[in-house]
Symmetry: C2
Subunit: 159 residues, 2 copies
């Protein structure tokens, strides 16, 4: 199967990964969340080639994760800004940060820590159940067919 076809399955993970699941795309979004908005700044902050960066930005704009906004009047210059859909990816990045902090810090502690301005504390992002508020782990969760699966049961694998 080609990677392009991955997003057509009735699986939200596959669909999400078809947009953001390759080399560099999540790094681009990391930079976007840090406030970077311009092509050359993305390029400098990431070290990715301009070629690949241009392609990734284009894809993210097409997917409505970033928005291309003109600035500086008459000259054709653009900023890439997160849309609401893009900002909604923040938990994905927090989950990655959290995992890296726990397992990949090389014994030196986390390179960056996070402060929750609302409550004023340094915090650990925690994935909880919306209903009971308890931290969720894989063994306590059971997948069940949802409405978006109907009529597609033959066409791919769920998840």
């Amino acid at each position: 199967m080609k990677w392009q076809d991955v997003g057509e399955q009735p699986c939200s993970i596959a669909r999400s990964l078809a947009i953001i699941g390759d080399r560099w795309t999540l790094m681009v979004l990391r930079s976007a969340f840090l406030g970077i908005r311009r092509f050359d700044d993305f390029q400098a902050s990431l070290g990715v080639t301009r070629h690949v960066l241009a392609e990734r930005l284009k894809r993210l704009v097409e997917a409505d994760v970033l928005q291309k906004v003109p600035y500086q009047g008459r000259q054709e210059r653009f900023e890439y800004r997160l849309t609401e859909k893009g900002r909604d990816l923040y938990p994905v990045l927090l989950a990655l940060v959290n995992w890296g902090d726990k397992w990949l810090d090389g014994g030196m502690g986390p390179p960056v820590q996070y402060r929750h301005n609302t409550c004023g504390h340094m915090f650990t992002p925690t994935m909880v159940c919306s209903e009971c508020g308890e931290a969720v782990n894989a063994r306590e969760v059971m997948p069940v067919a949802g409405p978006g699966l109907m009529g597609m049961a033959e066409s791919g694998k769920p998840g």
Copy 2:
């Protein structure tokens, strides 16, 4: 910059993505969380080529995300099982599911829903602050230099 070098930055996102941030790796882990353990079953459930699958499994074993466990006695057969480090990636997948459910369902509702066995309810995975329990969003969070950044300030970009 080559992708291989991405993981050497003092940034937990970069380090995490160096392991799981390419095409197929998170799909492999999705299958692992669904209970798949054998080479041919991964291949059938994903549609990835055997070539790529073998390389990804090897890398995940080297990174201690999966563990290769022999089974069936004398014959050299193996199961790939999630380690604790691997199980700790569950929040990353939940965050992806949640985003896909919200933004990529094509108006049909989520293909798969999740039940939290502990409390018995269908739920939405929610990323909250460990200190105050409120849902976290990007604008309320401020990154601060952590201990793992010291002495490396020149060598790369944080995040």
